[in-house]
């Protein structure tokens, strides 16, 4: 497994009130990184009555990070923080509004249709809802065959062999028993194994897992996480693990990024960040995570008041300031904080650490 040290640069000097300009400055990708995201913005245009401009939803606003071969990174954050939009842009399902994504030093933004087709074989996708992720009218063989057909594997014998190998890898044995089954005949865990097999069948270098265990029974979660980790190690797979469940993060990944309102507010080594959170939002998030401990039963948890901000008109300055307990007047609501290094690559985007 490649040992990776991430070089994280987050640029926050831009004025968010203006429409993104095309001549935005961007740094070159990190050499040798599998995936480099640079100043990525994904904005969705709002229209009034189907036409006429009514602003943008800033789902992802200025996110940069690098991911090395075989590295795992977790992206956490509450619903609507932009982590799904970030993930879908990396998958090539959304076009970046601004900024760059580099995959093996090739700029995703200018990929031709053919390059895009190649890129899609390099990235696997594991979804949250295993039942919804499988077409209900296809059996397991058809489901696993589809990516192979699309990737241009013409020989039926080779397809069959790869389907069997993929199923064996996700421990769906005996294979014959599962091949003709339809998704509704499988349990939730088996469905998710098929989803993982489908994501792995083209031997990708990067796996994007969007809350892969949040819809599964607690008993199955560990198995699936173990399977993902085994695959990750066996294939030296880079994994982007997206979740709102901090308890599974430690198990799975080395690095973590915490997103809030379209921005990365804190990032670092998993153990360091979880045991010593710096940003008030991260602290609140960890505080809100339930721990199955009898002592916690009657404990009142401090949660930040208020709602996540509107992504159409995000608050000026620090986006967390209306909910923050450590709000510093005239600083937090005026200027956007840059990333402050709080030790060993642990970055927090908060004025408390200036």
């Amino acid at each position: 497994m490649t040992q990776a040290t991430a070089d994280i640069k987050i640029d926050t000097t831009r004025d968010e009130r203006v429409k993104p300009a095309s001549d935005a400055p961007s740094t070159r990708p990190e050499q040798g990184a599998l995936l480099s995201v640079r100043n990525l913005r994904v904005w969705f245009e709002l229209r009034r009555f189907g036409f006429g401009h009514a602003g943008y939803v800033r789902a992802v606003d200025d996110v940069s990070f690098d991911l090395n071969y075989g590295e795992t990174i977790a992206i956490v954050g509450e619903s609507g923080c932009g982590k799904s939009s970030l993930m879908k842009t990396i998958l090539g399902l959304h076009r970046p509004t601004e900024g760059e994504i580099y995959f093996e030093n090739r700029r995703l933004n200018d990929f031709s249709r053919r390059e895009m087709q190649w890129y899609r074989t390099q990235v696997g996708y594991v979804q949250q809802d295993p039942y919804g992720a499988l077409p209900p009218f296809m059996n397991v063989r058809r489901i696993l065959q589809e990516p192979l057909i699309i990737a241009g594997v013409k020989d039926p014998a080779e397809r069959e062999a790869r389907i069997r190998k993929a199923l064996e890898e996700v421990k769906m044995t005996p294979v014959e028993e599962f091949l003709p089954k339809f998704p509704h005949m499988l349990s939730g865990g088996q469905q998710q194994r098929v989803v993982i097999a489908r994501a792995m069948i083209l031997n990708p270098k990067l796996l994007v897992a969007d809350e892969p265990v949040s819809m599964l029974d607690a008993s199955v979660r560990v198995e699936i996480l173990r399977l993902l980790r085994a695959l990750q190690q066996a294939h030296n797979l880079a994994v982007i693990y997206i979740t709102h469940d901090l308890s599974t993060v430690r198990y799975f990944s080395r690095r973590i990024m915490v997103m809030y309102a379209g921005q990365v507010v804190e990032q670092g080594e998993v153990n360091d960040l979880l045991s010593n959170p710096k940003h008030p939002y991260t602290q609140a998030l960890i505080e809100a995570t339930s721990d199955p401990d009898a002592a916690n039963a009657m404990k009142f948890r401090e949660v930040p008041s208020g709602e996540p901000p509107s992504l159409v008109r995000p608050p000026a300055g620090c986006r967390f300031h209306p909910r923050c307990a450590y709000f510093i007047a005239d600083v937090c609501d005026k200027e956007t904080p840059p990333d402050f290094d709080v030790g060993q690559g642990h970055l927090a985007r908060c004025w408390l650490y200036r």
Binding site: K88, T121, V123, Q127, A133, P136, F137, E146, A151, V195
Partner: protein
């Protein structure tokens, strides 16, 4: 899935009956296609007097005799060219004497409709001379008259005024078959013989004859006002009705589904355009447009079919399919398919449309008879295909010739019954399929 659907379908007796009806219709259509070719069907239907002359006018089907106390006569046809009857040729010097006898057994309780002899004479200069004699079962010999036929000629008993005078103005077909001196007239049963004594004046001359005593019942389906055998229309109407219904239903539902899928998948302007077109087409009056096309352009059933499909493609079904597709479009499995690189057409064809197939199949089956009815309605409005024999065309003819007013019920009821049975069969199958594919309806 298909096997399960069949197992579920068997639970519904109505579906079994419906399937039986539909398969009977299919068998009938195949039988029609196998026994009467397309050109033959058109020839029999459009041919003209030459082809129809062997049939009586507006005769009921033969099976109606089963319900009658007074059995109606069926047609007696004797043709010397076919070796029916007896033909004796005796050369007498320069002349040739030909005697043709047509004996036949008459057992009906009613008189024939009309009597006619068709002559087929061969000569160069001088027409043969024929003397016609009628022999009754009780031994009477009635002289009908003399005739000098041309090469192809017909002698109709009613048209002979001298015969009428001789028979005291009683129509020939009654007087010749009646018991003597009985009032009211009643037919005498037994073996009748028509004898033709002909003199041919030329050495190589010849004469043949065909005698027809037109009955009052004919064939399995009866005949119409132009002596056409309705069986042709009944039989050939089946494949035409099924083909029209199936093609129209298939054409509209499948294209509608794909159009809706395209609109939803590409969204934006494509979707908006499709929606606006649908809204415009929805308010277009279909029937008047079809009447206009039929009147000004073409009454061919296939042109009408094309127009029907065109007008129904952008029908209200687009709206309901769209609602489903909008939901399916957001499914995670579609997103996954995009992530592993499925193209637009593959997503529409393999991921989007399969979801509405369970809805589409029952709809398709129920739609088939509605298009069959549409074709019949157009025919009744006088816009039927002028060439093809269809059920609607038969109803139209019957209607125009006062079938109900004149008591020719078979003429109207046969095609109507077939139309009703077709509708019923497909509807029963369709509703059962609907319940099989959409289990939520089962409680209803």
């Amino acid at each position: 899935m298909i096997r399960n659907a069949w197992a579920d379908l068997r639970q519904y007796p109505s579906a079994i009956i419906g399937l039986l009806i539909v398969s009977l219709l299919v068998v009938m259509a195949i039988y029609a296609l196998a026994t009467i070719s397309y050109s033959e069907a058109i020839r029999l239907w459009r041919g003209g007097e030459d082809i129809w002359q062997d049939y009586p006018r507006t005769a009921s089907p033969e099976w109606t005799n089963f319900f009658r106390a007074q059995k109606l006569p069926s047609t007696v046809l004797l043709d010397s060219r076919q070796g029916q009857g007896s033909k004796v040729v005796e050369p007498r010097g320069a002349l040739t004497e030909i005697t043709i006898e047509f004996p036949f057994n008459f057992q009906a309780d009613d008189f024939p409709q009309e009597l006619a002899i068709f002559f087929y004479a061969t000569f160069t200069q001088k027409q043969p001379h024929v003397e016609m004699t009628w022999l009754t079962p009780d031994g009477r010999e009635i002289r009908i008259g003399e005739y000098s036929p041309r090469a192809r000629d017909s002698y109709r008993f009613e048209g002979d005024s001298r015969l009428a005078r001789r028979l005291r103005n009683v129509p020939a077909q009654q007087a010749l078959f009646a018991k003597p001196d009985v009032e009211p007239l009643a037919p005498l049963k037994g073996v009748y013989t028509l004898r033709l004594d002909a003199l041919v004046f030329e050495g190589n001359g010849d004469l043949d004859a065909k005698f027809i005593a037109y009955g009052k019942v004919s064939g399995l389906a009866g005949t119409d006002h132009r002596r056409r055998d309705l069986m042709v229309a009944i039989l050939w109407g089946t494949p035409i009705a099924l083909a029209f219904g199936l093609l129209a239903a298939l054409g509209t539902t499948v294209t509608t589904m794909f159009i809706a899928a395209f609109g939803v998948w590409f969204g934006g302007l494509v979707d908006a355009a499709i929606q606006r077109i649908t809204e415009i087409v929805l308010i277009l009056p279909v029937l008047p447009i079809l009447i206009m096309v039929g009147t000004f352009y073409s009454r061919s059933i296939w042109v009408i079919l094309g127009v029907v499909i065109l007008l129904s493609i952008f029908g209200s079904a687009i709206k309901s399919y769209r609602a489903i597709f909008l939901q399916v479009k957001e499914s995670p499995y579609i997103e996954a398919a995009r992530a592993y690189g499925a193209g637009n057409l593959r997503i529409i064809g393999r991921y989007l449309t399969p979801r509405v197939i369970p809805l589409l199949i029952p709809q398709l089956v129920v739609l088939i008879p509605s298009y069959v009815f549409l074709e019949a309605s157009l025919a009744v409005l006088g816009l039927g295909d002028p060439v093809l024999p269809t059920w609607g065309k038969v109803i139209d003819d019957a209607f125009r010739n006062g079938a109900l007013f004149n008591g020719y019920y078979y003429w109207v009821l046969q095609p109507s019954a077939l139309l009703i049975v077709t509708g019923l069969g497909f509807a029963m199958v369709g509703f059962a399929l609907d319940r099989v594919f959409n289990p939520r309806l089962r409680g209803l």
